[in-house]
């Protein structure tokens, strides 16, 4: 623990800290461009120069390890002059185009030029100009503005694991580019926009649409995957303009995936903004809310309780699921399910949670991934696995599809029976698991949605018990969900009740004509062809598969348009907040269900969101603890059946389109096209 003096203030910092950290600990602000907490130290911008006693010249505080007894000053004339000098050099080639630059108002260079720079320039020669680079559909480049901090290069190489960005040339001809100007093939690529301290890399879809000071900023939670990334939703009026990451060390740190950031333009397209009912000509006709409620109520009143079912989609908030569950209970139907992909999970909580927690990935020393591609299913979480791998080179085995996960993996085969071999200790990877002190298993939906999913879950549990994945102090048994609403649904028991049917059972019942009404709460990924004989109520926000097959459409709110509780794959309770209002006549989902219950005459009570939340928290107490994880007790779960010798596939193969919002997003479609063009180009070149 070195002890330093910064501007006469004594501070203790941890071993391995830098002088910059010490200055921050002393409450002294140090300007910087190239230094970033989560990237390696480059020390090339020179903005963080400070004076050190007995040093002949100012030192770069970001790169100088803090030593015991150092005496640092940041308020001397020399430091002031050094900062002004560095600033002047940086601005020599930086264009004076702030009024037309999207970074304006949130630009480090602008702010620091104000704080530490001179008011003029002594440079009267021509500034250099740099060609703009193509970096794909998300990143807009104005490379003349680049100050060569290399944050983007370090991010791509270290965090994203796609070493395609680099700095070519030297001196005045130095330029940041991708290799032969390929698209940056990463699911995390747009984070370089946040990292760029100037306006060289800005957001392409957001280009020239708003200034930061016009936006209403709402702290919320992402639902594009089950990581539950903390986000800030910036809206202007009713329109969500952009999504930015919010710091949460335990979840997403300060990154978000490209889908989280850019699927929001899907919120403006194909929206259900009024109720619809299927008319005589088999086409959806707009109707009033009154008619809609009466029709739904009529159908539900007529149908026998045993012939009514409810399916919750992937992005449902806990409140609306709880309301629907309460309604089904009032109707007396046990047929409800929140696992539209048919995943064989539920029951004991430890059997469907990411037990080690996301932050726990940092502690693992061996990893077995079964039926999952974390890079596509949880890109931010994958970056954590990569960081651990970079630091420890831990062995990582994969059962399922072999893919580039941005770290070295050992492919153990795509056959589920490999689990049996591992369990018997016959497989080579078994020794590596055995040797590990804190081994980890990540089980994906690709494996669990199979017919033998329960057996895979059971076998994985046995494996976990046999290989020390679960001990008193460590639980590395992890389920990686893809659906943001899944854990909340399972926690509150949005699963078949006594004698109830799951989604497959409902489909079979519907086919045989034994199901009269199906209520799809934002469920678009089921096969609606099976439900043709039933009356389909679709409640959701997009005109996707569900609405196309519905007999009646109840327009709901998307995740940015309602307050909602979401549990991420760890079971972490997070509260999302409304950033904008739903379009047209669309309403918050819980209120729609409440209204229907009233129309039937079987009110579920809960007249306000507060009442609903109170009831929800009474039923499932841990929902009342925001940002907490209610730990799960280890239990027996999973089946014992024989594993089918068929290949394990992944649940997601198109990262950019996984939900109604991202399927409606033009930006995501463009990303997909660019990705396919790149793949086609690579194949052609080979």
């Amino acid at each position: 623990m070195p002890k330093l003096t910064v501007n006469d203030i004594e501070v203790d910092v941890e071993d391995g800290s830098t002088v910059l950290h010490a200055c921050e600990a002393a409450g002294v602000e140090i300007p910087r461009f190239c230094y970033h907490d989560r990237l390696s130290i480059a020390g090339n911008c020179r903005m963080c120069l400070v004076d050190m006693e007995r040093a002949p010249k100012p030192i770069a505080s970001c790169a100088m390890p803090a030593g015991d007894g150092m005496v640092i000053r940041t308020d001397t004339d020399r430091v002031k002059k050094a900062r002004e000098g560095v600033m002047e050099f940086l601005l020599i080639n930086h264009p004076l185009d702030c009024p037309i630059c999207d970074q304006g108002g949130e630009c480090d260079l602008q702010d620091q030029a104000m704080g530490y720079g001179l008011d003029g320039s002594r440079f009267s020669e021509n500034k250099r100009a740099v060609d703009n680079k193509h970096m794909g559909p998300l990143i807009s480049t104005v490379m003349t503005r680049c100050i060569h901090c290399t944050r983007c290069v370090r991010f791509a190489t270290e965090v994203a694991g796609v070493p395609e960005l680099g700095a070519i040339g030297r001196g005045e001809t130095m330029e940041i580019t991708t290799y032969l100007e390929k698209t940056l093939a990463s699911e995390l690529s747009a984070n370089v926009i946040d990292l760029c301290p100037v306006g060289a890399l800005t957001s392409r879809p957001y280009a020239f649409t708003a200034r930061p000071w016009e936006l209403n900023k709402t702290e919320s939670i992402d639902v594009m995957d089950a990581v539950g990334s903390n986000i800030r939703v910036d809206a202007r009026g009713a329109q969500v303009m952009r999504v930015l990451p919010r710091l949460n060390e335990d979840v997403n740190e300060e990154w978000i995936s490209d889908k989280t950031r850019y699927a929001i333009d899907g919120l403006r397209r194909q929206r259900l903004d009024r109720p619809y009912a299927r008319g005589r000509d088999a086409k959806l006709q707009p109707i009033s809310w009154d008619e809609a409620l009466q029709t739904v109520a009529g159908k539900l009143r007529k149908a026998k309780a045993n012939r009514v079912a409810a399916i919750a989609g992937n992005q449902c908030d806990a409140e609306s699921m709880f309301a629907l569950k309460s309604l089904m209970a009032r109707l007396g139907s046990p047929h409800l399910d929140c696992r539209q992909d048919g995943a064989k999970i539920g029951g004991a909580r430890s059997g469907y949670l990411f037990n080690s927690t996301i932050a726990g990935i940092d502690d693992a020393d061996a990893l077995l991934i079964v039926g999952s591609n974390p890079r596509l299913e949880a890109a931010v979480l994958n970056a954590r696995i990569r960081r651990n791998w970079l630091a420890t080179q831990m062995p990582i085995g994969v059962i399922g599809q072999d893919a580039d996960l941005t770290y070295a993996t050992q492919w153990l085969g795509d056959d589920a029976t490999v689990l049996d071999e591992l369990l018997a200790g016959k497989h080579k990877f078994a020794a590596k698991l055995k040797k590990a002190k804190r081994p980890m298993i990540i089980l994906g939906m690709g494996a669990l949605r199979r017919a033998d999913g329960a057996a895979i879950l059971g076998r994985s549990r046995q494996l976990a018990e046999a290989y020390g994945v679960v001990t008193d102090k460590w639980n590395g048994f992890n389920i990686l969900h893809n659906a943001a609403g899944r854990v909340a649904g399972l926690d509150m028991g949005f699963v078949p009740g006594r004698g109830g049917m799951d989604v497959a059972g409902m489909a079979a019942a519907a086919k045989s004509g034994a199901l009269d009404v199906v209520w799809s709460l934002g469920a678009d990924e089921i096969d609606f062809a099976d439900f043709q004989s039933s009356f389909i109520i679709y409640q959701g926000h997009h005109g996707d598969a569900g609405a196309h097959h519905a007999d009646i459409v109840l327009p709901g709110a998307a995740y940015t348009e309602k307050d909602g509780i979401y549990l991420n794959t760890e079971g972490r309770v997070q509260y999302a907040n409304r950033a904008a209002f739903p379009p047209g006549e669309a309403r918050e989902d819980w209120a729609i269900i409440r209204a229907v219950s009233g129309a039937i005459g079987k009110s579920i009570g809960m007249d306000s969101l507060a009442e609903l939340r109170a009831a929800l928290c009474e039923a499932v107490p841990h929902f009342a603890m925001p940002d907490q994880i209610f730990p799960a007790k280890w239990a027996k779960f999973g089946g014992r059946a024989k594993l089918a010798a068929q290949p394990v596939t992944n649940a997601i193969d198109n990262f950019y389109m996984t939900c109604a919002i991202s399927r409606a997003s033009e930006t995501m479609a463009e990303c997909r096209r660019a990705q396919q063009a790149d793949v086609a180009g690579t194949v052609a070149a080979e």
Partner: protein, 218 residues
């Protein structure tokens, strides 16, 4: 200057190291600790350039990246950083003219003027005959014999307008002048001949040498 301006527009489809160079590559990589093979990137780029008419095609950069388990952009970064690596074809005689302060003070402008007069080329260009390419470079590290012109691997020193012309004549005739100082001094000895250690040359005793050195200072 985007990457397209830095590399040749006409690129060969593939690149393969010769068997001889493959052997050399093994020897070079073996010099570095295991897992640090990326350190061999500069010698490999040099080998590729020597094998491929004094310039490195992108195919070679990709081959080296695969060979050293590096990202392609990392190899390209190195190749574009050093002026010694050519990413475009150059003439048979690649002239690297030093114009850094000592050479400039000693008349590198004259040397450059001579080349310009003959071939009409400036830095980065190749003569019409295609045999001569010129590149203005930073210090070549032989300031004592300034100005310097490096022709492929060889240094020609003490050049002025006339001697540069004579050197280029000899290159055109494919009978290059002897490498080194064109005024005939040996090493970096003073141009008027040796002034010290004369005694050693004539075989006199060590004591008289020190005496001589003393007097030289006086």
């Amino acid at each position: 200057m985007s990457i397209d301006d830095r590399i040749a527009s006409d690129q060969p489809k593939s690149f393969k190291f010769t068997a001889e160079n493959e052997k050399e590559i093994k020897r070079i990589i073996a010099k570095y600790p295991k897992g640090r093979q990326a350190s061999a990137v500069m010698p490999l780029l040099d080998l590729a350039q020597r094998q491929h008419d004094n310039w490195i095609p992108m195919a070679a950069i990709e081959a080296i990246a695969v060979r050293l388990d590096m990202a392609e952009i990392r190899v390209l970064e190195v190749a574009t950083f050093y002026t010694m690596f050519n990413l475009k074809p150059v003439g048979k005689y690649f002239l690297q003219a030093c114009t850094t302060t000592p050479c400039w003070l000693r008349g590198s402008d004259e040397m450059m003027r001579c080349i310009k007069d003959r071939y009409g080329i400036a830095s980065g260009q190749t003569s019409d005959c295609g045999r001569f390419s010129l590149l203005e470079v930073e210090c070549l590290g032989a300031c004592v014999n300034a100005p310097i012109l490096q022709v492929n691997d060889d240094f020609y020193e003490d050049l002025d307008y006339q001697t540069t012309g004579a050197l280029l004549d000899s290159l055109e005739a494919d009978a290059p002048l002897p490498v080194g100082s064109v005024v005939g001094r040996s090493g970096s000895e003073a141009s008027g001949g040796g002034t010290t250690l004369a005694a050693v040359k004539s075989g006199k005793s060590a004591t008289s040498t020190s005496k001589k050195r003393g007097s030289a200072h006086a």
